[in-house]
């Protein structure tokens, strides 16, 4: 009898796991929401204010620096003490968490579709991209190559990736934003330089046949390449690649391909939440602060490319020029790109089907 009970318990606990997996975003949301809700009465001008910045994974160190600076400046200018809480995670799961009730005041996610997902749920106003300078893009980045010391396989440009003996490390395009951008960069490297879509398809087919492991997330791919020593080239964001090279103590180096995809981690405040928390002004000031020279300096320090009018050229020696193309070079828009490349049965599924 006891054993039957135990087997039933197994089934139950397994079901619980599945249920938890599905509603994971909801649970993760409720943990932080209490924090943000504490500030819901409209504050008198000198009351301390608290912001929750829901961000994507690799920006942890960047926001630590920026939050500290912003806190000082905001208190000096307004007399209000501001505390910024951070939440980090995979970009698209962060977007889902906000939709499910994680009360973010601002979101700083890795790519447009993630922020726009929150707009679709009604939490962010229509036309959010136009509210801040440069299309709400205080900094940008791109996909570069990280190779082993001395670049033994002589990888300089996209076509070099599909040389027969080259192994490529890049995360899974279906589960990772980094993986999606790398895919689009590879595709665009063909079609923006006079190649046809068929040629692009051939190219990415070959490329993904030479990917030995499709890690689920960007950091896992970094581990695979730098710590486990698998592969000859790692496709990743410039800032991630720089970090990886620094950590490798001379074992790895960066290669800038002549063309690549422009990664646009736009920022936005979450209208419904800032209204509820009475943090409209602080959230706006926080995001506008990103365009000031002080913040742009820190952004450059963390290897994101500054995008404010005055600062774009200032760090030219730190950021070698690459010809960058955006989403419109590879698809009509992001929705079209998902349908064309990443959704079930779309191009990525077709090229990875086992023959």
């Amino acid at each position: 009898m006891a054993r039957t009970g135990r087997a039933t318990a197994v089934v139950f606990s397994f079901s619980l796991f599945l249920a938890a997996l599905i509603s994971g975003a909801i649970h993760c949301g409720s943990a932080v929401s209490g924090v943000a809700a504490a500030a819901d009465k409209p504050a008198a001008n000198t009351d301390p204010v608290e912001l929750l910045n829901v961000a994507c994974d690799p920006t942890r160190e960047l926001w630590q620096d920026i939050n500290e600076q912003f806190g000082k400046i905001y208190e000096r200018d307004t007399g209000r003490k501001v505390t910024i809480k951070q939440s980090h995670g995979g970009s698209s799961s962060q977007a889902r968490a906000v939709n499910d009730g994680l009360e973010a005041d601002v979101v700083t996610l890795a790519m447009w579709p993630d922020t726009d997902l929150i707009r679709r749920s009604g939490l962010i106003a229509e036309g959010w991209e136009k509210r801040l300078p440069e299309n709400s893009l205080p900094y940008y980045s791109t996909i570069v190559f990280v190779v082993r010391k001395g670049n033994p396989k002589q990888i300089h440009d996209w076509p070099d990736l599909v040389k027969p003996d080259v192994q490529i490390i890049t995360p899974h395009p279906k589960t990772s934003g980094n993986g999606k951008l790398s895919f689009l960069a590879a595709w665009g490297s063909v079609v923006t330089r006079g190649g046809s879509e068929d040629q692009a398809k051939d190219f990415v087919t070959k490329l993904y046949q030479q990917v030995p492991v499709l890690d689920v997330a960007a950091r896992a791919a970094t581990m695979t390449f730098s710590k486990k020593g698998i592969g000859d080239v790692h496709l990743t964001w410039e800032n991630e690649g720089q970090q990886e090279v620094q950590d490798s103590k001379g074992e790895l180096e960066i290669v800038y391909p002549p063309v690549s995809f422009k990664a646009e981690p736009q920022v936005a405040w979450v209208d419904e939440n800032v209204k509820k928390h009475g943090t409209v002004d602080a959230a706006r000031a926080y995001l506008e602060f990103l365009y000031t020279p002080v913040a742009q300096q820190m952004i450059a320090k963390h290897f994101y490319r500054p995008n404010s009018e005055g600062d774009r050229q200032k760090f030219a020696d730190r950021f070698p020029p690459i010809k960058l193309f955006g989403i419109t070079a590879v698809a009509k828009d992001w929705d079209d790109a998902y349908q064309k490349f990443f959704n079930d049965g779309a191009l990525f599924d077709q090229i990875s089907e086992k023959k």
Binding site: F14, A19, H172, V213, K227, I230, Y338, K354
Partner: protein
């Protein structure tokens, strides 16, 4: 022993050693509802948003079928290996005295405490071509990571405590005199094991198997680090769920989860039936 928790005679409200039948049952039911039934119902509710056709289209693609197959076969193999290893470890821990036994005994629970992602990373670092094991195995053509073998290996690690802990108490309570009697009656060592020890242990072995099997089916954190996550090859079913979520297809993700759940429920029910039949056979 079989009937110790059954109510005999006077219906439901009989005084028991533990006071407050209503209270304890109430807490049990509330607990089960909040922790299990409501999340499960939410799961089902999500799935009902799909029509039958959409449900079928989501759960029965060739990609999904190979993911189920991989998940169940890898879990089955790992649970089988785990049960054997678990029996061996439990045997050594119960029947012999040796220095360091205590330490090993507590090490057995380690896989429960370790975040599974750490286990996955450690395994994959060992078996890659420049890892401690990999540098010897990869030249022989044995790929212990980014392969199906890697998935099985890490699932064995994850499931081990369940198998050991299921068998251990039964072995402890087994008196040696039955074996001695068997030996005195002229049974060989093999016969003693096969006819005396194994039948007694069988239910515990089956429980251990079922526990580690179920644990393996739901395992995600460690597997994604040792798998190359290629569809139709090394892509497990939970990975499919995550990739559906990533496309914001909640209902479809839940649908796959439900199929997985139904399948494992069926398998465990089957195991239960087999177990009960085996006991009747030996009774």
């Amino acid at each position: 022993m079989m009937h110790d928790h059954r109510q005999k005679g006077k219906g439901f409200f009989v005084n028991r050693t533990l006071p407050g039948f209503r209270l304890t049952l109430g807490i049990t039911l509330i607990y089960l509802s909040v922790m299990l039934l409501i999340p499960l119902a939410a799961c089902l509710w999500k799935v009902t948003q799909l029509g039958p056709a959409a449900f079928w289209a989501a759960v029965w693609t060739s990609r999904a079928r190979s993911a189920y197959f991989l998940t169940f076969s890898a879990s089955f193999i790992s649970a089988a290996v785990t049960s054997l290893l678990g029996l061996l470890i439990a045997w050594v821990l119960v029947r012999y005295e040796w220095p360091g036994k205590r330490v090993v005994d507590s090490l057995v629970d380690l896989p429960l405490a370790l975040p599974t992602a750490v286990a996955g990373l450690a395994y994959s670092a060992l078996y890659v071509q420049n890892g401690w094991f990999g540098r010897f195995l990869v030249p022989l053509g044995i790929h212990g990571t980014y392969s199906r073998l890697g998935i099985v290996l890490v699932l064995i690690f994850i499931g081990l405590p369940f198998a050991v802990r299921a068998v251990q108490p039964v072995l402890e309570s087994m008196e040696a005199d039955a074996e001695e009697a068997a030996t005195l009656l002229g049974a060989s060592r093999w016969q003693t094991f096969w006819r005396v020890i194994l039948p007694t242990l069988k239910p515990a072995l089956i429980t251990g198997f079922a526990l580690s099997f179920a644990r393996a089916i739901g395992e995600y954190g460690s597997v994604v680090f040792v798998s190359s996550n290629k569809q139709g090859e090394t892509e497990i079913a939970p990975m499919l769920i995550v990739s559906k979520l990533e496309q914001n297809s909640y209902a479809e993700a839940t649908a796959i989860a439900l199929v997985l759940l139904a399948m494992s429920f069926g398998m465990l029910a089957l195991i239960n039936v087999l177990e009960r039949r085996s006991r009747r056979h030996y009774a």
